[in-house]
């Protein structure tokens, strides 16, 4: 395929993915908005007012970046995992496999689709948060950069999950038993400085902690960990996972007999 044809193929796939999650918006866009509004009401307004300050900010201001990031992570991941697995299940993945579209275009199309949903939901959650607090962004470029990179990383993760999945249960195992605990323990609701030394060190093994903290640093200008290292780690994870996903696709893992 020449570059123009590759661009058309990629655009087709991205538009198709965006159409998919917007067509079923009551399942994809509405629930996270309501869930996050609940978090803002219960943790931010009701309980947060009794907690006092966290890292020098009101509890509501502290949790807003974490909750936005949580929404981006879970939606990027689950969008690609469910969409690609659904394509496998309905065998419509064969439409792409018989076409001359390179594997990296297939992977990028799904990843960009997942990023679109993750960032879209992130934007909705941000707008919802405006009903509860005033947001100020200390480092806009860093904020946007880290949320885009995080959406990319978890979209690739969702793709690998879908490739390996044999049944619908396999698509929900990772979000339920890995992603959710890591997100909750990744400093969304608290600063790790509150933890005993052992658990502070243990938390440093959690990759989501870095993303949440860099994102919070972008908003508030405070972070528990060095921002540069965190960004480098996210980029390294993206490169490694993209390579793994592409290799699996080339080998036909989970899609070719």
């Amino acid at each position: 395929m020449n570059p123009a044809q590759v661009a058309i193929a990629l655009w087709t796939l991205v538009v198709k993915e965006i159409k998919r999650f917007t067509r079923i918006w009551p399942q994809t866009l509405l629930p996270p908005s309501i869930t996050m509004a609940m978090y803002f009401i219960i943790f931010g307004s009701l309980i947060g007012s009794r907690i006092g300050q966290m890292d020098g900010f009101s509890y509501m201001d502290f949790i807003v970046p974490g909750l936005i990031m949580m929404a981006v992570i879970t939606n990027s991941y689950s969008n690609v995992a469910s969409s690609f697995f659904s394509n496998k299940f309905q065998r419509s993945v064969e439409e792409m496999m018989v076409s001359p579209m390179p594997n990296w275009v297939i992977l990028s199309g799904f990843v960009l689709g997942g990023m679109a949903r993750g960032l879209g939901v992130g934007l909705i959650v941000t707008l919802v948060s405006l009903f509860f607090t005033r947001i100020s962004v200390a480092h806009p470029l860093l904020t946007v950069g880290v949320v885009v990179l995080t959406a990319a990383l978890f979209s690739i993760g969702g793709f690998i999950n879908a490739l390996l999945a044999n049944k619908f249960d396999d698509v929900s195992i990772v979000p339920t038993f890995v992603l959710t605990p890591l997100t909750y323990l990744g400093g969304v609701f608290y600063s790790i400085s509150l933890l005993p030394t052992f658990w502070q060190n243990a938390s440093l093994l959690n990759p989501i902690l870095y993303m949440v903290n860099v994102f919070r640093h972008g908003f508030l200008g405070v972070s528990d960990i060095p921002v540069g290292w965190a960004l480098a780690a996210i980029v390294a994870f993206i490169i490694v996972l993209f390579t793994v996903a592409l290799w699996m696709l080339e080998r036909g893992k989970g899609i070719r007999s």
Partner: protein, 320 residues
């Protein structure tokens, strides 16, 4: 001489569970041909086509599409290939028009070119009125036609139809046959067809390969194959019921019911002798027809021969 549309050499497929689906098959399909690949369930038809379409990974062998080796440049080879699989493989929740336009996009076709092409194909296949509806609302026959339209979007030179008329009513099947004949004749599209309706292969195809137990057991022209047919069974409808089948020397005659006889006629025998013998016994025939389609008889006999030979070989193995 032009490269074959499809050339297969020594194609072997062993699945992960050790099942030997293809045992080194060779096959050529010439450009412009209408070719039938026949065989019982599990014979290796879909595995062969799966390898050609990149849905199945081969274990060994070579496959070329219009001279392009799929191991060297599969992407370029895929441009020439259109696939209509046996099972529905589109997103049932998408709109009909979106499904065909997306397929064009995957081949890098610009939308301004894809839209008129989609309109023409959907109109030709009677789906234009359904273009805005979800694919799951289509009937089974419409879904099959949708897959044909989708496969033709990028103007493939080789179209693979894996049981395209399965579950389609007779009237619709005939109209689909006519459409396939048209694209083969007018656009020069090479078509490879697998089907369980042997009447379909006999009516549409010029050449045929029969595959059984992962091996090509025959590869010849349909006409040549039919010429080899050794026996034909005729059903005779009688004017008056008979108590039992009359014995006619040299012919096998069976009673289907009181007013119908089945007569097996071998090559070289004259049907006229049957009528003479029946006339002598006062049995009057009012109409006559073939019991089944001729290719089907040939196919069944070949597959049975293959199974018998296999059973004998297995017995020898057990004996040893």
């Amino acid at each position: 001489m032009a490269e074959p549309a499809l050339s297969i050499r020594g194609l072997t497929k062993v699945y992960g569970n050790g099942f030997h689906a293809l045992k080194g098959i060779d096959l050529d399909v010439e450009q412009g041909d209408f070719f039938a690949l026949l065989g019982p369930n599990g014979a290796g038809k879909s595995t062969t086509l799966g390898v050609v379409c990149s849905l199945v990974q081969k274990t060994a062998g070579q496959v070329s599409i219009f001279g392009i080796d799929i191991d060297r440049d599969f992407a370029r080879a895929k441009y020439h290939l259109g696939v209509v699989p046996q099972e529905f493989n589109f997103n049932q929740f998408e709109k009909v028009l979106d499904i065909v336009l997306a397929q064009a996009g995957y081949y890098g076709m610009p939308r301004r070119e894809a839209l008129p092409r989609a309109e023409r194909l959907l109109k030709d296949l009677g789906l234009w009125d359904k273009r805005g509806g979800s694919a799951r609302m289509l009937s089974g026959g419409m879904k099959r036609r949708l897959m044909i339209a989708r496969a033709l979007m990028h103007r493939p030179r080789l179209l693979i139809l894996d049981e395209p008329t399965a579950g389609v009513d007779i009237e619709l099947r005939r109209s689909m046959w006519e459409y396939m004949r048209r694209i083969n004749r007018e656009e020069g599209t090479t078509i490879i067809l697998t089907t369980h309706y042997l009447e379909e292969a006999e009516s549409l195809c010029r050449n045929v390969a029969i595959i059984n137990h992962g091996e090509i057991v025959r590869n010849t022209s349909v006409r040549g194959l039919l010429a080899e047919l050794d026996t034909e069974t005729f059903l005779l409808d009688l004017a008056h019921p008979v108590a039992e089948a009359p014995a006619i020397e040299g012919f096998e005659v069976r009673q289907v019911d009181s007013a119908q006889l089945a007569v097996v006629v071998h090559r070289g025998q004259r049907l006229n002798d049957v009528f003479t013998a029946l006339g002598e016994r006062g049995i009057e025939v009012v109409s006559m027809r073939n019991r089944a389609n001729r290719l089907e008889e040939m196919f069944v006999s070949m597959v049975e021969q293959g199974s018998d030979a296999r059973a004998r070989a297995e017995q020898v193995e057990v004996g040893q």
